[in-house]
């Protein structure tokens, strides 16, 4: 799981163009939106895209992502359980 968390952090940095941040700057248990990393609704769409492109996971709606994108750890848990590639 720790390996997947690191992989996700790197993919998030790349997809959201957080160029001056490193994986260590992201707390895997902190909220991704609002108070934590400060992401917004457009980022949620980019994260949905990230899951589809890299792990073959298609979310039906952004609302579904609310639970999954709570933190990098919840994302990693969902990817580990549902990935098709």
């Amino acid at each position: 799981m720790e390996e997947l968390i690191l992989e996700l952090k790197n993919k998030i940095l790349e997809a959201l163009k957080l160029e001056d941040m490193t994986p260590e700057d992201i707390d895997e248990d902190a909220p991704l939106f609002k108070d934590g990393l400060g992401l917004d609704s457009i980022d949620a769409l980019e994260l949905m895209l990230l899951l589809e492109k890299n792990y073959g996971i298609k979310l039906k709606s952004p609302a579904e992502g609310k639970e999954i994108f709570q933190s990098v750890r919840t994302m990693a848990g969902y990817v580990a359980a549902n990935r098709v590639k």
Binding site: L16, K17, L18, E19, M21, I42, E46, L49, E52, K53
Partner: protein
């Protein structure tokens, strides 16, 4: 109601030294087939979180816009009017390339949103919190003249007291290759951003110059007659403009910026910028305040 219109401040990012007028003493001699802008260090202007979704063209537009607003002491303009000949090419390619390669799946929403021509004008408005009139003109080589004409009309008619007008264009390697194959005008292809703060009134003493006339003529045969009618002290044509800034959709905007600064420096009392672009010709006549 016909009020006089003035350029209070102007700023550029182009192939010359950006965000200053020092380059006018020793302009860079242009060479090569195409040139990118000389960009300032944008980390001075944007935090990483702010900058992450900004393409280069938006960064240039935002930095030049902020500079003219600061120079004019205007926090938020009454209107934002923007010109662009080709729009946001970088984001359009970023959106279209995966679409072609990936079979219309997994497309980036950010690149899609920011691929439209009015992205720049709307993003500047969102950033400044400007809810006023907002319009983008994409009229090939006379996009800037179309922008300026609308700005002058808004100001003359009292629709706005001040207008943030700009013209912004960028070039990518792909577009440069395509354009080079079709054109060989002797000047490098280029890109550039210009922002101007225009104001109306009976007198704006700190203005760079007055915008006396803006015209777009669609009769190439009538250009010389029109030029003679203005009786300008100096006529700035495409050959001078292109030798300073290269060939780009923003070229006439850059020429007007340079002309305004030359008038403000006392080099001329009036300048006519003539921009012959295909079957259209743009005329911007500037006078000393």
């Amino acid at each position: 109601m016909n009020r006089k219109v003035y350029i209070r401040a102007a700023a550029q990012i182009s192939v010359q030294e950006p965000l200053c007028e020092d380059w006018m003493l020793h302009p860079r001699q242009l060479s090569g087939s195409f040139l990118h802008c000389i960009d300032p260090d944008y980390k001075q202007f944007f935090s990483p979180m702010q900058a992450r979704r900004m393409g280069l063209m938006f960064k240039r537009a935002m930095v030049t816009s902020r500079k003219v607003l600061e120079a004019s002491g205007v926090e938020c303009p009454d209107a934002i009017i923007t010109g662009t000949a080709f729009g946001c090419i970088e984001n359009t390619e970023r959106f279209l390339d995966p679409l072609c390669r990936g079979g219309e799946e997994t497309l980036s929403p950010t690149a899609f949103m920011q691929s439209t021509h009015n992205t720049i004008g709307s993003m500047v408005a969102i950033t400044l919190g400007c809810h006023g009139y907002n319009c983008t003109y994409s009229q090939d080589g006379v996009s800037f003249e179309s922008t300026l004409l609308d700005a002058v009309l808004q100001l003359e008619c009292g629709g706005a007291e001040n207008v943030l007008a700009g013209v912004h264009d960028e070039i990518t390697d792909n577009v440069a290759r395509l354009m080079e194959a079709n054109e060989s005008a002797g000047y490098p292809l280029s890109e550039g951003s210009v922002a101007m703060l225009l104001a109306a009134g009976d007198g704006v003493p700190d203005a760079l110059c007055e915008v006396s006339d803006v015209r777009i003529l669609s009769r190439p045969e009538a250009v010389e007659e029109a030029v003679a009618g203005y009786r300008a002290e100096y006529v700035m044509r495409n050959d001078v403009t292109f030798s300073l800034f290269g060939r780009c959709g923003s070229a006439s905007g850059l020429a007007v910026y340079a002309a305004a600064e030359m008038i403000a420096a006392g080099r001329y009392s009036s300048v006519l910028v003539v921009n012959e672009s295909g079957s259209n010709a743009g005329f911007v006549f500037l006078k000393i305040v």
